[in-house]
């Protein structure tokens, strides 16, 4: 089975040149790379370096379904009902979309996840860092500090309890967790263009322990784009990039999306923005909304997921962060 040369991601010019030199398939290329005499001659003629060409010719790796199941990781929120909805939390290696009207808790849930991604390994957390791509100035250090303080309070309560946690010595663990320390593990990046997401590669190099990337909001940079075709290209190239990063670096991606009004035959309806083609590209879609006439009660409706059908969860946002509704509340 020979792969023809023209299937490689090379420029037309290079391919023509190779063709003239007598290379017809990838195996020819590999042979000449392995032969030192031919190699020097070959490389002189081309702009690609040896490692680049070797990269192109490498066989992709594969994994078995069982491997994947062992590796499956998720970032738990502090709200059980949302975790159940998402099969344990926001899935690592996937893109999750949060949509909802303004004030429905998208940014709050995003910030909560920036805190909960840092749960130490001994509590079965990921002990990772987070990147918060802020496009609409919704990032609030004040809120994060509140959430972190609540988290630290919870940790010290658990540690003083009867349960013994293996791993780190308790006191040492507590010392390593401080508000300032946790805040410094949330890297805020401001952007105003989706193409700037390429800068994430550099940020990731600097902070290899990042397990969560939040883009809040994904649509804000697109409001400046008038041409809808152009908008689509931008959206999809950004999603390509995020999906690649998510798989390569084994991290979860969380996007927030606004609602827009669409006029249909039966009147007007509200939909998440960016249309149908966007929906295909994200693996989990959550629609958040505020329950009218109930202070501080919210619902999360799961619109798309591989594991569950359409279902919903209720949650509340307290000063501590995103939490379950108090149990006394009769749940329908």
């Amino acid at each position: 089975m020979n792969r023809p040369i023209w299937t490689l991601p090379l420029s037309k010019h290079t391919i023509n040149k190779l063709d003239k030199l007598g290379y017809k398939c990838c195996e020819d290329l590999l042979d000449s790379l392995d032969d030192p005499e031919k190699k020097s001659k070959f490389l002189r003629k081309h702009m690609e370096s040896e490692s680049e060409i070797r990269d192109m010719l490498k066989t992709p790796k594969y994994k078995t379904a069982a491997d994947l199941d062992i590796e499956r990781d998720s970032i738990a929120t502090f709200c059980k009902s949302i975790d159940e909805l998402l099969n344990g939390g926001i899935q690592v290696g996937r893109i999750t979309e949060l949509s909802g009207a303004p004030g429905s808790g998208k940014s709050q849930l995003s910030m909560q996840l920036c805190v909960s991604v840092q749960i130490p390994v001994c509590f079965e957390g990921l002990q990772g860092e987070a990147i918060y791509v802020d496009t609409n100035s919704n990032f609030s250090e004040l809120r994060l500090t509140e959430m972190i303080d609540a988290f630290l309070g919870h940790v010290s309560k658990v540690l003083s309890g009867p349960n013994d946690f293996k791993g780190a010595a308790n006191s040492e663990l507590l010392k390593s967790l401080t508000t300032a320390g946790m805040l410094s593990k949330i890297h805020r990046v401001q952007m105003n263009d989706l193409n700037q997401l390429h800068a994430l590669y550099t940020t990731l190099e600097r902070h290899p322990n990042v397990k969560l990337i939040v883009v809040d909001s994904f649509v804000m940079p697109l409001y400046q784009v008038e041409n809808s075709l152009r908008k689509n290209t931008l959206v999809h190239s950004a999603l390509d990039l995020l999906q690649t990063i998510a798989v390569e670096h084994d991290l979860a991606v969380l996007l927030t999306n606004d609602l827009t009004t669409a006029v249909t035959e039966s009147g007007t309806e509200v939909f998440p923005a960016l249309g149908e083609s966007f929906g295909h590209r994200v693996q989990y879609r959550l629609l958040l909304s505020k329950i009218p006439n109930r202070p501080n009660e919210y619902t999360a409706l799961l619109k798309k997921s591989v594991e569950h059908g359409r279902s919903a969860a209720r949650f509340t946002i307290s000063s501590d962060g995103v939490r379950d509704l108090p149990i006394e509340q009769p749940l329908q």
Binding site: S49, S137, N138, M191, Q196, L197, P292
Partner: protein
């Protein structure tokens, strides 16, 4: 597609935006030079795949160029802000507490409510508090006030100015001097506007220029609704959304680039909800609401006035009462 470069963009010297060609291999350098792609702005106009075809580079090389360009472009977004997240007082301790300390820089704060419930009073007061010294949680800078509904209430602001010295006591003498010597009236620029076109002109042309020459940190638009209510027929709703969005996005951009507070006043519309009964909601619909960072709502009963946080990334939704006095809002 090409919007005229604003004063802010022109100020950004071309060197800030230029790629460092030395990090690339000679072939890439030549290709970039040939195509004239020397600034990150030029490159990021395209997506990665488009760019690759245009410049005829390899996948890996394009990728490298894009990462470099994005890094430059993203760091330019950041360089216009001061490190500390500054909080501006509203001049009322209770309202500050409600907002999580005060008004937060960056983004748009919207204040809506029925007519006569204190929205303008609130804005006037903030136009003064922004001039307070830093020790009093002010910003020691001026304000731009865009009126679309009414003449600017200059007699009321004079009254508030004459009271401001009694309202604040400073610990240090220097601050006290500053407090007394500031020419409050002189630091508020006022512009009267009646149409959407004028508003666009004002925001796109005038504000960037003014921001270069004057130390302005606050922009008030009182109100954003007035110009948008009359001018459009029902069939023009999409155009209205687009105009609104254009203005909101530009305000956002200004606020991030220059580190500004932006306050927009909105009117209310009654909406008939499913559960029955009329409810007052802020006007202008979703297109506008999506772009608001913090939404405040004022309401009035016979005896008292209330201010409510409807949503804010910084605090939880709550309501508290307030009063309007000679000194302002307390």
């Amino acid at each position: 597609m090409h919007t005229p470069a604003t004063a802010g963009e022109m100020n950004l010297s071309s060197a800030d935006d230029d790629l460092d060609l030395n990090v690339f291999d000679p072939y890439t350098q030549a290709a970039l030079l040939r195509g004239g792609f020397l600034s990150s702005k030029n490159i990021l106009k395209y997506t990665e795949a488009e760019f690759r075809k245009k410049v005829k580079l390899t996948v890996v090389a394009t990728h490298r160029v894009f990462i470099a360009a994005a890094n430059i472009s993203a760091s330019n977004v950041k360089c216009h802000q001061e490190p500390n997240n500054h909080i501006l007082t509203t001049g009322c301790k209770q309202i500050d507490k409600l907002l999580g300390g005060g008004l937060f820089k960056y983004g748009i704060t919207e204040i809506s409510g029925e007519s006569g419930c204190g929205k303008t009073q609130f804005c006037l007061q903030i136009a003064l508090t922004v001039q307070l010294p830093l020790s009093l949680k002010g910003a020691k800078s001026g304000a731009a006030y865009i009126c679309t509904e009414d003449r600017f209430p200059s007699s009321r602001i004079q009254q508030m100015i004459s009271n401001i010295r009694f309202k604040y006591q400073c610990d240090s003498k220097i601050d006290m001097n500053e407090l007394c010597q500031t020419d409050y009236g002189d630091n508020i620029l006022i512009s009267h506007i009646a149409t959407v076109e004028d508003l666009k002109k004002c925001i796109h042309e005038m504000l960037p220029r003014v921001l270069l020459h004057r130390p302005i940190k606050l922009i008030v638009i009182d109100s954003i609704t007035a110009v948008f209510r009359g001018e459009y027929t029902p069939s023009e709703v999409p155009r209205r959304s687009r105009d609104l969005r254009d203005i909101a996005v530009f305000l956002h951009k200004l606020s991030v680039e220059h580190g500004l507070w932006i306050i927009c006043v909105n009117q209310v519309t009654s909406s008939i909800s499913d559960i029955g009964g009329n409810k007052l909601v802020p006007s202008l619909g979703l297109a506008w609401a999506n772009l608001v960072t913090t939404r405040l709502m004022m309401s009035k009963t016979h005896s008292s006035r209330y201010i409510e946080v409807m949503f804010s990334p910084h605090t939880a939704p709550t309501t508290i009462p307030f009063r309007v006095t000679e000194q302002g809002i307390v």
